[in-house]
């Protein structure tokens, strides 16, 4: 599943031992959905039981537009775009982001959709590249300055 990697450019790293990677190489785009049930599941798995992630009453009481996703759920789920590309989640060396806008998750079966786009922005050396991701919800950026350094 790595046909999108440009194999014609030299001088970069290699992903899955298959292809060279140059600045501008895109990641295959990813989309995923977050639902209330997913937030409850993440709360249990992570131990983050802040009620703004499950209670409309509490979320409204602290001035939020509704129940919002854990920022760490958005950050964790978005990284799949990178891990599917490298084939090895253990190759992540550095991952950082800013949460710019809360992801409001309605109480509906379909929840809300997020999209992840990304590309290689720097070849650091023979073994490491830096990627930048853009994560959007409803057309608005929800993560900014999202950078991932991976071993390739």
């Amino acid at each position: 599943m790595h046909d999108d990697v440009d194999s014609g450019v030299t001088g970069g790293g290699r992903v899955n031992g298959k292809a060279s990677v140059a600045v501008g190489t895109p990641l295959p785009p990813l989309s995923f959905r977050l639902t209330r049930a997913g937030l409850v599941r993440y709360a249990g798995a992570s131990g983050d039981f802040n009620p703004i992630h499950h209670s409309d009453r509490v979320a409204a009481g602290v001035g939020l537009p509704g129940v919002i996703a854990h920022g760490m759920l958005t950050m964790g789920a978005s990284l799949r775009a990178v891990n599917e590309w490298t084939g090895n989640p253990g190759s992540v060396l550095d991952y950082s982001t800013r949460f710019t806008r809360p992801v409001v998750v309605p109480d509906s079966d379909e929840g809300v959709e997020l999209t992840v786009d990304g590309s290689v922005v720097a070849v650091l050396d023979e073994a490491r590249v830096r990627l930048e991701l853009t994560v959007r919800c409803g057309g608005e950026k929800v993560l900014a300055r999202t950078r991932v350094v991976v071993r390739v």
Partner: protein
């Protein structure tokens, strides 16, 4: 209600070890929607060069967030956790977290600021294994939003 600036630079003693369990890793991986075989299957992990199943890169937050409650829930610190949103997050890895790891966390208050009445706190958590070798450092910036009157 401002947080206490006197906490900047404060370091907390290393936590008791947290033993990373295979089932906990898989539970977390499913919760973030990434059921990758390296999180479940030792043979798949070995194929990718890992001696054990590994945890998703953001799994470290489970340890950091818990350890950071020493600061965030300390009443003397004065941080209103009910109004907290997460502003920035970084993970810097020396190696992936693996099942069977016994990890300890040392928390440091890296920065404290008040911006337009919002309390902004940056916490750093350094995670080491049983041999005291570095595994991951997490840096989290949390904002407790001012109550608008």
């Amino acid at each position: 209600m401002a947080v206490s600036a006197s906490y900047v630079g404060r370091r907390y003693p290393r936590t008791e070890p947290y033993e990373v369990g295979r089932e906990k890793i898989w539970e977390f991986a499913r919760a973030i929607g990434e059921p990758h075989p390296v999180y479940r299957d030792a043979a798949a992990a070995a194929e990718s060069g890992h001696p054990e199943v590994i945890a998703p890169p953001t799994f470290a937050i489970v340890l950091s967030m818990h350890a950071e409650e020493q600061v965030t829930l300390d009443p003397e610190f004065g941080f209103d956790f009910s109004r907290v949103i997460h502003r920035d997050q970084r993970f810097e890895y020396s190696r992936p977290v693996r099942a069977g790891d016994r990890l300890t966390v040392a928390v440091e208050v890296a920065a404290v600021a008040s911006v337009d009445g919002n309390d902004v706190v940056t916490l750093r958590a350094e995670i080491r294994d049983a041999r005291q070798e570095h595994v991951c450092t997490t840096t989290s910036t949390l904002v407790s939003r001012a109550v608008v009157v």
